[in-house]
């Protein structure tokens, strides 16, 4: 397969310990790219790009996943990474760009893929967890993550930028020797650095209590207590002294009335695993 792939990775930070690490979401994007490229990673054009500090040791974890080199566009911590990334991608024009949904540090607003796709004129598909390519007709088949464990199959034209969901397959471990052996290539971006202004005054984050349901204005004390505690009592009927067949029929009718048997209609044995 000869599709040029670019993977954009960021330096992550462990939420508990605060230590620098590879960002798990970006590592998943790299994992999808490596799976797409097959075993001969060096032969294909999987290019891994990072804008930031080239001396960041956490970047070596991406090299440890089996790529020969990591291209770093030097950027200060308080400068905008959009112009250098855009310039580097304009030079390469890869057929496919993969990245995580949002970075683990920095603003982490998740807007960078959208700004890149808008500027490059690429099609953007968000929150995918699997991808397959057909370079003959210039289309990619993508599996998109939806709520409640559902998945959707999409087809999109190349060139394409896709963000990889945290529900994608877990990335491979990084190997220490490969991480040592891999090269970090500093690449002059060729554009002037633009300072990034934080969007507003910065405070340390505070955990907010869960918002309670609004209390009913009227009603008894029992109603208000129930609204507060959320322990709703069922409004249902209780069947006693019924045979197993009647009980099964009652459950079947209830599920059918709620429209929950449509999902059960498809044979569960035919569901592809994973």
């Amino acid at each position: 397969m000869t599709v040029a792939i670019a993977v954009l990775v960021s330096a992550g930070r462990h939420p508990g310990s605060g230590r620098a690490r590879r960002a798990p979401n970006d590592a998943r994007a790299l994992e999808l790219a490596l799976a797409l490229a097959g075993d001969d990673v060096t032969a294909t054009g999987v290019q891994v790009l990072h804008a930031g500090d080239p001396a960041q040791p956490a970047l070596r974890a991406y090299l440890g996943m089996g790529i020969p080199a990591l291209h770093v566009l030097p950027a200060d911590a308080d400068s905008d990474i959009l112009p250098p990334l855009l310039a580097a991608l304009e030079r390469r024009r890869p057929q496919l760009i993969l990245t995580g949904v949002r970075s683990e540090c920095g603003w982490s607003g998740g807007c960078l893929p959208y700004l890149l796709a808008e500027s490059l004129g690429y099609t953007l598909v968000s929150n995918i967890d699997a991808i397959d390519m057909d370079p003959q007709d210039g289309m990619a088949a993508l599996r998109q993550v939806r709520p409640r464990g559902r998945r959707r199959l999409l087809r999109a034209a190349l060139p394409l930028l896709a963000t990889v969901d945290p529900a994608a397959p877990a990335p491979r471990q990084n190997a220490f020797a490969r991480a040592r052996r891999g090269r970090v290539i500093e690449e002059a971006s060729g554009v002037a650095a633009v300072a990034a202004v934080p969007p507003g005054t910065v405070h340390p984050a505070r955990q907010r209590p869960r918002r309670l349901q609004p209390l009913p204005a009227a009603g008894s004390a029992a109603d208000r207590l129930q609204a507060l505690t959320g322990a709703s009592t069922g409004s249902g009927r209780v069947l006693e002294a019924v045979s197993a067949g009647e009980a099964a029929q009652a459950i079947y009718d209830y599920l059918a009335a709620q429209g929950l048997l449509a999902a059960a209609g498809s044979a569960p044995g035919s569901v592809p695993g994973g």
């Binding site: 939420p15 540090c105 920095g106 603003w107 982490s108 607003g109 998740g110 807007c111 959208y114 700004l115 808008e118 953007l124 929150n127 998109q144 939806r146 709520p147 464990g149 559902r150 959707r152 034209a157 969007p199 507003g200 005054t201 910065v202 405070h203 340390p204 984050a205 505070r206 907010r208 918002r211 609004p214 204005a217 009227a218 959320g230 322990a231 709703s232 009592t233 069922g234 249902g236 209780v238 069947l239 002294a241 197993a244 067949g245 009980a247 099964a248 009652a250 459950i251 079947y252 209830y254 599920l255 709620q258 929950l260 048997l261 999902a263 059960a264 569960p268 569901v271 592809p272 994973g274």
Partner: protein
């Protein structure tokens, strides 16, 4: 030791007439002088015992009569339900606030209500009005806070068609020039909102945690910091960012549907893939079959879950015994589930378990004990042996006649 009693010094001039203040209060003014001279005035006194029991006798020993008079209980009925709130009509607003709810499945979810609540806060700060831009028709938008409803024509209604939707939204933004556009920070809304912001060249506020009229708080730097600022043009709000509108009814008048905007669609939707219930995390599962201590026929349980296409779960004793893995445990020390339907088999309903299923929409319970707590929580409770019900239901689902 005792102190000498203080005595009033004797007045000069001999004995004095004493006043009777009580008689002065009750007697007419001209009789006061007479009352002073004759203090024995006859007053009618109450007879509490006579009032309490006109028939005589001690009322505490009379058990035949009801303790409380009948007319007193009828007076303590509940007050009538309050009348429906009057519709709030905003005819000439100063500006518009566009809210774009997800409307997953065509119904207004909790996150959508929070979006409309946040839009309401931003609109009420300066005499604006809320327009709900919808791609699928939905009810109750007026009660959720929408002054107007803008139906957007978009060819595939439930498919993933972000390019068409953005084209329709950009036409709406150009027509109404809203001061703010509010999206939910959900899977679909997060995608749509960032696309619109990138297209318009705006910097949106993402992961907004709290919305007030003039300040918003949004998360950044992973989960480490909060940015406080004035609300920008495009906001993507979390579910807890604003309280949903309650107790008020807005007009919810439909505006004319905007004509369908044409655009180049690079993405085609090839449809939903079948869900593998075993791979779905329990917190996200839609239909759950849960086993308690009453289940002993495990092959029948697994067969029923497979026939239903449901995710398997269990109570704590079952996971303690090792019949199902720990990540399948429901309850206070396991997973808090929010399934659309929860089928509890052989579960008695310990408080810790009921806590774990408090967000479930429908609960069906089968238990041998007619006094089990889960039957009080259940929407459909059945007192029967689960070992017999499980194969009967599985046979019914496979299309066989029950025995």
């Amino acid at each position: 030791m005792s102190l000498p009693r203080r005595t009033r010094p004797p007045r000069s001039g001999g004995e004095r007439q004493r006043r009777d203040p009580r008689a002065e209060v009750h007697a007419p003014v001209d009789e006061v002088v007479q009352a002073e001279t004759s203090p024995a005035v006859a007053r009618t006194r109450r007879d509490p015992r006579g009032e309490r029991s006109p028939g005589g006798g001690n009322p505490r020993l009379d058990r035949a009569r009801p303790l409380r008079p009948v007319e007193e209980t009828t007076a303590r009925t509940r007050p009538a339900t309050p009348a429906a709130p009057e519709t709030i009509i905003n005819e000439n607003p100063d500006f518009w606030v566009l809210a774009v709810p997800d409307l997953a499945g065509g119904s207004l979810g909790a996150h959508d209500r929070a979006v409309l609540g946040a839009a309401r806060l931003l609109a009420d700060a300066g005499g604006g009005a809320v327009v709900a831009a919808v791609f699928t028709p939905a009810a109750e938008l007026g009660a959720a806070g929408a002054d107007r409803i803008l139906p957007l024509e978009c060819a595939p209604t439930d498919d993933y068609a972000p390019e068409q939707r953005i084209a329709a939204l950009r036409a709406a933004v150009a027509a109404l020039a809203p001061r703010h556009v509010v999206f939910p920070e959900s899977l679909a809304g997060a995608d749509l909102g960032r696309r619109l912001a990138a297209g318009l060249g705006e910097l949106p506020a993402t992961r907004v945690q709290a919305v007030a009229a003039d300040r918003i708080l949004s998360r950044g730097d992973g989960e480490a910091v909060e940015f406080e600022r004035e609300p920008p043009r495009i906001l993507l709000v979390d579910e807890g960012a604003a309280a949903p509108v309650s107790g008020r009814l807005y007009e919810g008048r439909s505006l004319d549907a905007a004509p369908a905007a044409t655009c180049h669609a690079g993405i085609t939707d090839a449809g939903e893939l079948p869900v593998d219930p075993a791979a779905v995390p329990l917190a996200e599962a839609e239909l759950i079959v849960s086993a308690g201590n009453g289940v002993s026929d495990w092959p029948a349980f697994h067969a029923l879950a497979a026939a239903l296409g449901a995710s398997e779960a269990a109570s704590r004793p079952v996971c303690d015994a090792g019949a199902l893995p720990r990540e399948r445990q429901v309850g206070a020390s396991g997973t808090l589930v929010a399934a659309r339907c929860y089928l509890a088999l052989g579960i008695s309903g310990a408080p810790q378990h009921l806590q774990g299923i408090s967000d479930c929409e429908h609960v069906i319970a089968v238990n041998l004990d007619p006094h089990a707590e889960i039957l009080k929580r259940a929407d459909l409770g059945i007192v029967a042996d689960v070992q017999a019900v499980m194969p009967a239901l599985a046979a019914l689902l496979r299309g066989e006649k029950p025995q």
